[in-house]
Symmetry: C2
Subunit: 356 residues, 2 copies
Amino acid sequence: MMGGEKETTIYDIADKLNISAATVSRALKDHPRVNKNTKKLIIKTAAEMGYRSNSFASNLRKKSSNIIGLIVPRLNSNFMSDVIAGIEKVLNNNGYNLFISQSLETMTKEISNANAMLVNRVDGLMVSLAYDTTNIDHFEPFIKRNIPIIFFDRVFEQDACPQIYIDNYKAGYEITSHLIKQGSKRIVHITASQLRKVYADRLAGYRKALEDNGIEFNDDLVIINNLSSEAGHEAANHILQMDPLPDGVFSANDICAVSCMQTLKKNGISLPADMAFAGFNNDPLTCVIEPNLTTINYKGYEMGEVAAKQMISRLMSKDELEPAHSLILKYELIVRESSLRGNHNSPNNTLNEPQS
Amino acid sequence: MMGGEKETTIYDIADKLNISAATVSRALKDHPRVNKNTKKLIIKTAAEMGYRSNSFASNLRKKSSNIIGLIVPRLNSNFMSDVIAGIEKVLNNNGYNLFISQSLETMTKEISNANAMLVNRVDGLMVSLAYDTTNIDHFEPFIKRNIPIIFFDRVFEQDACPQIYIDNYKAGYEITSHLIKQGSKRIVHITASQLRKVYADRLAGYRKALEDNGIEFNDDLVIINNLSSEAGHEAANHILQMDPLPDGVFSANDICAVSCMQTLKKNGISLPADMAFAGFNNDPLTCVIEPNLTTINYKGYEMGEVAAKQMISRLMSKDELEPAHSLILKYELIVRESSLRGNHNSPNNTLNEPQS
C-alpha cells in the first residue's frame, strides 16, 4: 500500500469532461454563472474521481452530503434488517446514501455515534433508541441546526421531531386477550427495559387485558431481561421454577420466545397444551419453531419506507416550519399453533388436555 | 424545527474548559505549543459540543476522522451481525466509530457507497463484496491515498490488501464427504453467484469430494440462486421434481437450507431418512429447525475481531510498508440430526430405513 500517487485535480476533471478547468473550478465553488446541469455533472464526476480539495469538500458539506445517518440499537434482528431495507429503497430512489451505526444498546455509544454523524454533516438522521437512553440532549445540536431527525420504533416522548411507531399498548392488550380466550389465566410476560416506551406500552396493554378479564396482575409473572436468545433460555429456567407453573407466556419479542420454547420443550413442557405462547415481530423464526409461534406482525419494511419518506419530505421543505407529525402504523395479530388450546377453564399448571 | 441558534464557537469551548480561547484555537489547529493531553481534551470537547469551523473540520479530516467505513452486501444474516459485533468491539476499544453501508448485492451501489466513504474521509475501509462485483477499481482511490482497506469473507483475488476468510474449498469438501459417508450419493448442491470466491470454492470442494468417492458430478444437481429464504422454498420445489429424487442436499448457507427443509417436509419428505441435509454458517435457525441442521461453524464474531485488529494495526503503522497478509480462519463441521442416516449403501430416492 504505497502512497505518493497524485490527488485528482480540477484539470483531471476538466480533461475527463472535455471542458475548461475554469468552469470546473467555478462549478465546484457553486458559482451562479455555471449552468445547473453542468454543475451537477461536474460535482458528480468530481465525487466519482475522488476529488477532495478542501473547498470542494466544505462546499459539498455546506450544501448537502447526500448522506442520511441511521442510529439503531443493534443489527441482529430480522425486524431491523427489514426496516433498513425499507429505508434504503426510498433513500436510493432519492439519490441518498445511508450510513448506519449501532448504539449497542447504550446511551454512551449513542451519544458518540450522534457526534460522529454531526461532524460528518449528515443531511438528516433517523434514530431508534438504545435500552438505557434517558434523554435526547445529544440530538439537540441537530435540531438547532435544522437537520431533520426522525425517531422510529423505539421513540421518546417529545414534540420536536416526527415519530413513527405502532400502538404497542393495543397490541399488548390484544395478544394478552387472545391468550386469555385460549384459557390461560396465569400468564408470564417477558419484556425489556421499561425506559423504552415500546416495552412499557406492551406491559401496560398486558395489565389492562388481565384487569378487563378479572385476573389480578402479579408482579412475579413479569420477567425483565434484554430479550436475547440467551435471555429466553434463562427465562425458561425461571419459569420452570414457578409454583404453580404458568399456563401462558407473552414475550415482547420472538427471538426470546423461541429460545424459551426450546428450553421448555426440552424439559417436558407440552406446547401449547401446558402453556400457550405468543411473541412479537413475526420473525421468520416463528414459522420454523414447532409449534409455530403466534405473534404480532409489525411490518419493518413498511416502517422503514414511511420513516424515509418523512425524511425526504422534510429535506425537501427544509426551510418551512413543518409540524412534527407522528405516524402510527398498523399491526396484526397472527394466530398460530403455539397459542391454540381451545377455550377451556382450568388450565393451571397441570398437564390438561384441551377440554373441548 | 427552527434554525437560527448560534453555532458553537471557540469561546464556548474555552468557557466550558476554563482555558483561554487562544489555547483552544491553537489546539484545533494542531499547534505544537499546546500540550498533547490538553489538545486531546479540547478536540474531544469541541466534537461533543458540535463545533464545526471549517478549519477544525478539515483538520479533523486531514488528521483522522476516527471513522472506519464498512461495506457489506446485506445486513440480514446472523453471520453478518456477528461479524459487525466483533468489528465494533475492537474499534470501540480503540476509539473509532463504525459507519456501515449496504451494497444490496449490486456493484453499482457498492461503487456509490465507496465514493461516499471516500468523500467523508474514513480512516479505513472494510469490505465484503456484492454478488455481482466483477472488479475492484472503485477501491483504487483508497489504495492510492494510503487509506487501509481490508476484505473479509467475500474477497477478491488481489495482492494489494489483506483478506480474511475461511478455506471454503476444504469446508465444502468436508461437508460433502460427510454426506457421502452417511450414504448419500445423489447430492444436490444449492449455491450462489460463482463470481464470488466463497461460493466457487465451496462448489469446487463439493466436486472434489464426489470425485474422490467415485461419484460422477452432475450439473443438474447444482442449483444456483441467491440463497434467500424464498430461494430455499423454490429450490425445494425444484428438488421435488427431480427424478430420481436426490438423497442429500448441501446448501451453501443455512437460511436457504432451512426453508428448503420446511417445504420438503410439508411435501412428505422425511429428513434425514429420505435426504440428508447440510447447511453453512451455523445460524441460530439450525437449532430451531427439526431435525437440527448439520452445518459449518464459521465464527463471524471472530472474523470481525480479526479483521478490525488488522485494520487497527494498519492504521498504527500507516506509513510503513506492511505486506498484505491474508488470514485464513478456522471452521468446524457440526454434525446434527439432519444428516445422520447411518452408513448405508443404497440410499437412492427410495424411502429406505437406515440399514444397520
